[in-house]
Symmetry: C2
Subunit: 342 residues, 2 copies
């Protein structure tokens, strides 16, 4: 059988101080002499002391639990989000609770029930739940603090961590420019999504910075679907002159572009370079593989944990959490190459 876990009092006795001083050291509160801090830490280490979460919760109102709420069709995305969150949680002494939501049964009652039993210091929401009004309302009603990952709407409603879509689109466009492309088509995303305008903005900025102007017909509407990418590509490739590269606002549309291109007799990347966005699993299955932008999912959820934990640090006033914009990763693969005719 196990020996009884050491408590804060055991540490206090071993260090020759009052147990309150131990508490101060553990919580990094000010007003403890360096010498005592060292003694306390040494004693804690020697005893293998681990604070009792339940007691800290009961007395201090902090559960040291972080919740991850999701309702995402992509298992891979969830896996990355969990990994990133748990890694940071371990560093901060928190535990990660998962709360998968099944859009089917998410009645208001179910949500309220889940939330009333949930006792976390903060909740992380991934897309698309992070944009679900009913969920957000339930969480706010329950008075739980939350951080959204890559939200699409209502950016002022709550703190979030997101990828810098503008910079990423800018960078991806520069990749095409560096390859030698000058005439680049762009396919917009679904108009309801916030990312749509940000990606367009990044594209235009890079083009402008390169001293290029973009003809209006080079910018086609899309809807983030394979079909919409195909249709847009047909339009872009049918005119009297055609672009040497197409930047689709996501991978699904980029795949549609590749399909339309091959049907029209153009080879990728020989006759046409194609770039996507998201690095979805399909991006690697396509042939040639898609050049795209990968979201830093693990880093985003890790950052979300940080934001939540910091917001509840001892002696912290309840001030608003600042949003964070994280870097992305440009994945250059086979679907982009220098244009044949300069």
């Amino acid at each position: 059988m196990e020996k009884r876990q050491a408590t804060i009092k055991d540490v206090a006795v071993a260090a020759g101080v009052s147990f309150k001083t131990v508490s101060r050291v553990l919580n990094q509160e000010p007003n403890v002499r360096q010498e005592l801090q060292d003694r306390v830490r040494a004693a804690a280490a020697a005893l293998g002391y681990v604070p009792n979460i339940a007691a800290r919760d009961l007395a201090g109102g902090r559960s040291f639990l972080i919740g991850l709420m999701f309702d995402n069709p992509s298992e891979a995305y969830i896996g990355q989000a969990q990994t990133g969150a748990i890694t940071r949680c371990r560093e901060t002494g928190h535990l990660l609770i998962v709360e998968p939501l099944d859009s089917a049964d998410d009645t208001q009652r179910t949500l309220d029930s889940i939330l009333s039993h949930l006792r976390v210091d903060g909740l992380i929401l991934t897309p698309p739940v992070c944009d679900n009004p009913m969920v957000l309302e339930a969480i706010e009603r329950a008075g739980v603090r939350y951080v959204r990952i890559g939200p699409d709407r209502d950016l002022d409603r709550a703190p979030f961590v997101a990828m810098d879509d503008v910079a990423a689109a800018c960078d991806l466009t520069r990749h095409l420019l560096d390859l030698g492309h000058r005439d680049i088509g762009f396919i917009k995303g679904h108009p309801d999504h916030g990312a749509t305008s940000r990606r367009l903005e990044g594209f235009l900025r890079a083009m402008t910075e390169a001293g290029l102007t973009v003809a209006p017909e080079r910018i086609q509407p899309g809807a983030f679907s394979f079909e919409s990418g195909m249709e847009a590509a047909e339009t872009l490739l049918s005119g009297p002159s055609r672009p040497t590269a197409i930047f689709a606002s996501n991978d699904d549309m980029a795949l549609g572009v590749m399909s339309a291109a091959s049907r029209a007799g153009f080879s990728v990347p020989g006759d046409l370079s194609v770039a996507g966005f998201d690095d979805s699993p399909a991006a690697q299955m396509a042939w040639p593989q898609l050049t795209t932008i990968r979201q830093p999912v693990a880093a985003m959820s890790a950052a979300a944990v940080d934001m939540l934990v910091e917001a509840r640090a001892p002696g912290r006033v309840r001030e608003p959490i600042a949003n964070r914009w994280l870097g992305y990763q440009l994945i250059a693969r086979g679907s982009t190459a220098p244009p044949k005719r300069p």
Copy 2:
């Protein structure tokens, strides 16, 4: 701001009893008159009372946290396991904690650290961590109760929930027999895996029950890999007489069989029926789609939660947890059909 959460005392006042009686009702302890039970429950419901987990933990030593530890390459498997576990956790008032392990950094120190901070009522282990000796030792050292899902080795070491491989293999064989097959080849799995012999046993049992004898050359070795399936199929299909169906001990090998068959000029299922095991994602992507056995992953993790929760029910002596064998699902798809020549 939120109103203060109702406590057990509020419920007691509302119900006109002592708060200890409320505690008894909530914990389903004996010795409370039915009338009082009803009154307490009504009061609790009216106040929207939810027990404080931290307080229960501190006083009673139960955290109402269940941990799910995994290190599994298959995101889909993990997703199902999580869904099944969380569903049951919600019913029992528990929270689910995830502990992904990264085989790379699982030093003994890391494991001990993780486990010392983990404060759960029980741990669920999925394959392959559930067969990792270092992990099991660390958990036992930490004195944490655990249940394994689909373990492969050391079945007596700790309670587990598993699929009945023998029955499933038996059933899948019967499916082939019912289709009219009499000469069936079998490809064994990797010799190190416990499932290997169980699946063979099920196959042989069904054949025997059908009054058939199996020639030794109809049973080929394999290693659960695509290549080993291919090689085994080449052997099975090259002899003077060939089976009309092949039962591979997992999907990867079944896919190898299909590949070898088409290379040898046999069509599936026209000339040869092929059955696999596992219902891996690839089983649906193949053409024709694979007839196979699906493991009840979600049901298994739900059962694991049950076993853990029941073991800690109030007034429960610490008696051993009984293992559970769960049903499987036979997924009949296009790769199996009646034989051409009877």
